[in-house]
Structures are given as C-alpha cells and as structure tokens.
C-alpha cells in the first residue's frame, strides 16, 4: 500500500468515524428531545398500579433468585446521612456489629 493510498484510506476512515459519531450525536439529541417531550405528559400511573397488583408481598424464601447484588445499598426516600445514622443505630441497639449486618435497602415509610 503506497503512502498516498494509506493517506486516502486514513482520511476516509477518520471522516467515517466522525460521520458515525456525529450521527450518534444527532440521534441522541433527537431522542433526548422526544423523551423530554413524552415525559411532559403524565399517564404512567395506571401501569404502576397494575404492576404492584402483580407482585404480592409474600415472597417465598429462596425461590426467586434473591437479589444478590454485591452489597449495594438502595436508598429510597432517605438521604445517605440518615441512612448511615440508621445503620449505626440498628447496630448499637441490636449489639450486632455492623460488619455482620447487611442492609439491602432503606426506604422511608410514607405516612398515609
């Protein structure tokens, strides 16, 4: 492959790389706008409700492939500071060292 060929190929390739990534830019920008527009409208609640009905609370032990993510703590409606405090309190109250407790998620109990 001559130098000139290499050069042409290279220019072509880098142009193509730009073309693909610019197209992706356009796609993402477009999608973000479409999704933002869609999000403006409400209407997801009915789905949520149906979903909840489908998952009764009682979960038989060990049957469902328990969530075994490595030690991620999910916080719902609680900030991280509060969560740390809760964990420390639980540990103290129960005399169980924190290293032995595993918290899967901490969520605020909504008052109704």
């Amino acid at each position: 492959m001559s130098f000139f060929d290499s050069l042409v190929v290279s220019i072509f390739c880098i142009a193509l790389v730009f073309f693909v990534l610019i197209s992706l830019f356009a796609l993402i920008a477009l999608f973000s706008k479409v999704l933002a527009a869609a999000a403006a409208k409400p209407g997801k609640t009915s789905v949520q409700v149906a979903q909840t009905a489908m998952q009764p609370e009682a979960v038989p032990q060990n049957m469902e492939g328990p969530d075994l993510s490595t030690g991620k703590l999910k916080l719902k409606g609680v900030d991280e500071k509060t969560a740390a405090m809760i964990m420390a309190i639980v540990s103290h109250e129960s005399s169980i060292p924190l290293s032995e407790l595993r918290f899967k998620s901490i969520r605020a109990i909504e008052e109704k």
Binding site: S6, L7, V9, V20, L21, T70
Partner: protein
Amino acid sequence: MFIDALKTIWFDSGFAALSWQHLVMIVIACVLIYLAIVKKFEPLLLLTIAFGVLLANLPLSGLMKEEVGSEAGGLLYYLYLGVKKGIYPSLIFLGVGAMTDFGPLISRPSSLFLGAAAQFGIFIAFIIAGLFGFSPQEASSIGIIGGADGPTAIYTTARLAPHLLSAIAIAAYSYMALIPIIQPPIMRLLTTEKERKVKMEQMREVSKLEKICFPIVVTIFCVLLLPSVAPLIGMLMLGNLFRESGVVERLSDTAQNALMNIVTIFLGITVGATANAENFLKLETLAIIALGLVAFMFSTVGGLLLGKLMYKLSGGKINPLIGSAGVSAVPMAARVSQVEGQKANPSNFLLMHAMGPNVAGVIGSAVAAGILMALFG
C-alpha cells in the same frame, strides 16, 4: 546408569532447549510483572499477560501445542480458542458496558465529537506503519493501539494480524497505564493557561429512560452502519442495558465480576502466551512499541485540537482539556484531565465533564476498528 537417566532428564528438560532468546523473553516477562505489581500498570491484564509470556518461553512445556487428531493439545491452546474466535474481548466488553455510566455522554452528546477526534492517532500510526512496510492488516492493528482500549485492540489484532497479538496487547495496556505521563506535556503544550482555567457548567440530569434507550439506539445505528463491529458494540451495549434497566442486577453483577474476571484470566494468559521468542524478538516489535506511542500522542493531540475548536465555537464554555480524555483509557484519561484542570485552577472540577469524551472514546475506537476490519478483514 543413574548418570544416563539424569542425562536423559536433562536433555528432555527445558534447560537443554533454552536459548538466549528465551532468556531475554523471561527477563521481559519479569519486567512486565514488575511494572504490573510495583508500578501498577493495568495489573489485571498486564500481570496475567506477563505470566503468559513467562510460561510460553519456558521451552518444551507444550502449553500452546495444537490439538492434532486424537492427541490432546496444551492447556493454553484450548484457552486461546476464545481469543482466536473473538469471544473473550466481546465478553469483556459486556462487563465494561455493565460498569460504564454513559450519563455524562448523554447529558452532553457533543462529547462524541471529541471521542471521534481522539482516534486521530490511529490513522497517523496506520500511515507510518505502512511506510515501515507493515501490511494494511498489520498497520490497522498497530494503529488501533491509539484507540487506547484493550479489548478492541485485541479483538482487531486477533482478526487481522494474530502474529502481532502479544506485542500490540502489551503496548496497548502499557501505554494506557502511562497515560498520566504521556498526556500532560502535550496538554500543556497545546492549551493556554486561560483555556485550562475554564470551569464548565454543570451538566443536566439524565433521566433513567434516556439511559435505557441509549444502548438500544446506539446498537441499532452502529451495527446497521458497520456490521463488523456488532460483537464489540453489541456486547458493550447489552452490558450497559443490564446496568441501566435496573431489573437484572444479577446479570449485571455477574457480567462485571465472575464472568469478566474469568475471561480476563483466560485472555491475559493466552495473549501473553503468543509471545514466543520467534514472534516477539524482532525489530517489528520495537516498531510497534514506537508506533503505539505515536498513536497515543496523536490521539491526544486530536482530542485536544478539537477541544480547542469547541472552546472557541462555544465562546469559551468548553475546557479543551477534556478533549484528551477522548482517547478512552477509561477512566485514567478523564482523571488526567481533572488533575491538569485543577493545577490551572484549584477550584476546577473537570472529572465528570471529561467522562463524556472518555466513554465516547470507547465507542469511537470500536467504530474505527469496525471500519478497518470492514476494509481489510
């Protein structure tokens, strides 16, 4: 008689077959182990590759012996099949995808321009490699070192120029580890103090829905346009979908950990094991190492220059230092942008801004690899 038996053992042993080339390779392996452990050069890969180099250069072990008929092959021959067939790099990309947050990229999609510009070095190295007499396939594989992305480099080289695999893999991972040394001088050379001081605006929040749509859209578009890139982009985006969907944490976790680690071990040791003395102790290898550095440097230059252009076009809102993060080498290059930005302006915090180009660079290298494989595969 004992003497005879000992002689037999001796002549069947590796000591008798040991050449100075083997010794040099063993020393190289030890140096790589040193770099991996003491200097912490991408140890996950480089330590494993180095041990593979070591094993491959202890003669007569037959670890890479091919299976012929009913005679069993060597251990590393079997494990190497996953490299040869392109399976391991794709599976590593599955894990990389599950680890990667494309949020900064979605938040500021113009990062993609920087991720494209920072592939510049690939083609500079490609051209120079051609001048050095490397075939287009070899030149492509060498160039792709400048993509600063290990699995992409290994995948491409295994397809196009498998005899250069170990040299290219070692160069790629070594330079990725050296990013904090390679990039800063170039960054300071090409940017002004004023540019480096630029503080960037906070990025907008990205919704979960956008993050979920992103891997799907990218897969459809990229694979349609460049079918040869499907294994890399497809797996990267599947891993990311595992991550962002939030409903398959089990799979995301395994893709990032058990599966990725197993594949990393197998990939590293067998890539290393291709570095037998005949393949590796050549002038070519030195050329590859030199060209790899050139590729890294010009990729950095490419990213920075486009960063400067965006600085101007945006009226000074974009700090050009984030351009160099477009080479990928996730997340090392983004950290370098952060460090340099903070040196110029201690209150500057560029890290999240640099993550956009950084992950865009992964896509950029994969696209470049796809193009080169389409042309020369």
